[in-house]
């Protein structure tokens, strides 16, 4: 799948307000990736894009609501043809920034073979001022920094809109398998 790359040059005066909170130094991964999504939308561009969202389309209306409290969104998503393209060091370079006192880990999950998912919140004066999401699979590496206040439930619901199965309570109940390999006596 061909994905777009977007780069932003910000004026110095705008940087302080809309600055990315977590630095993504991932050029090394970009060089190896078969597909890359690189989105950097600081405040003014975020609001410009939001103006063009169609309130009559449910997904665009949902994004419009989400954008209201935001000051920036930064995404790096890489897909690779082979395992081993990213290393723990790449993850740690981002994680080390999330050890700062204003960041708190909300949830984390670690699976087999390099699967890893973490969500962090940035809190200042008891108020949410940012979110960081790290998600890796053997052939994928995703880092997201959302600057500002965002409704996480609404954001996760958006993930369901796009074909990713939305989290439902009954998803947790697994049907018993028919053991087709069992031999009858």
């Amino acid at each position: 799948m061909k994905l777009g790359l977007i780069a932003i040059c910000c004026g110095a005066s705008a940087t302080a307000l809309f600055a990315q909170q977590v630095k993504f130094d991932l050029d090394r991964l970009a060089a190896k990736a078969s597909d890359t999504v690189d989105v950097s939308l600081p405040g003014p561009l975020l609001q410009l894009g939001a103006k063009f969202l169609d309130p009559n389309k449910p997904d665009e209306a949902a994004v419009r609501k989400l954008v209201a409290g935001l000051e920036g969104i930064y995404v790096r998503h890489f897909e690779f043809k082979e395992d081993g393209a990213w290393t723990a060091a790449d993850l740690d370079a981002i994680r080390s920034q999330l050890k700062a006192p204003e960041w708190q880990r909300l949830v984390g999950w670690k699976g087999e073979g390099g699967e890893n998912a973490e969500v962090y919140l940035r809190l200042e004066g008891g108020k949410m001022t940012g979110v960081a999401i790290l998600d890796t699979e053997p052939r994928e590496f995703t880092a997201v920094n959302i600057v500002g206040t965002v409704d996480l439930d609404a954001l996760a619901q958006l993930g369901g809109h796009y074909g990713v199965p939305r989290l439902r309570n009954d998803d947790s109940q697994k049907k018993p398998k028919n053991d087709s390999t069992s031999k009858k006596k």
Binding site: K2, G4, L5, I6, A7, D35
Partner: protein, 175 residues
């Protein structure tokens, strides 16, 4: 992978000579691949840069300049093509290839493809050039040419099928 650049307005003055050096290949090639005539393409390309010079004050940034130049090159090429329609047609076989550097890949095939592209109708011809020369995606082509996205996709699909068929008839398909 395409690169899209969104910029805040440039603080420094734009350098006309620098812009011309940076974009002359793009402008000339849009015109040449559309018109398939070296002299006309040069003239169109010159007109585009003269127009840029006159409008330089209105250009907001280097990215705006690139967008503007591409758009004007497309418009001027189409206009020039329409003027030619009113004149006696020249057979494709009569149109000589320019003495430019050979493109990578099979030169015979490349020459044939350029000639076949030049036989397409106005809109699909420019759609194909914007797609395969400029690497614009269908949405960007739709915005550039102000035609519906579905029309762009349909032109791409049909043009590819037509080219494949014409190449096969000439024994120049994939081996």
């Amino acid at each position: 992978m395409t690169a899209t650049v969104l910029e805040q307005p440039a603080q420094t003055a734009l350098d006309f000579a620098g812009l011309m050096k940076q974009h002359q290949a793009m402008v000339f090639s849009v015109a040449y691949h559309y018109l398939h005539n070296r002299d006309l393409s040069q003239e169109v390309a010159q007109d585009v840069f003269l127009s840029l010079h006159r409008n330089l004050a209105a250009i907001q940034s280097p990215a705006h300049a690139a967008f503007w130049l591409r758009k004007v090159a497309v418009q001027r090429s189409i206009d020039e093509g329409r003027k030619r329609m009113r004149r006696p047609q020249v057979g494709l076989d009569d149109v000589a290839e320019p003495a430019v550097a050979a493109a990578p890949g099979d030169p015979m095939l490349g020459q044939m493809l350029r000639k076949l592209i030049a036989t397409l109708a106005e809109t699909p011809r420019m759609v194909m050039i914007l797609r395969y020369q400029e690497d614009l995606d269908p949405m960007e082509i739709s915005e550039m040419m102000e035609i519906p996205l579905a029309t762009v996709k349909s032109h791409l699909q049909r043009s590819l099928a037509l080219l494949r068929e014409k190449l096969a008839r000439r024994g120049m398909g994939e081996r």
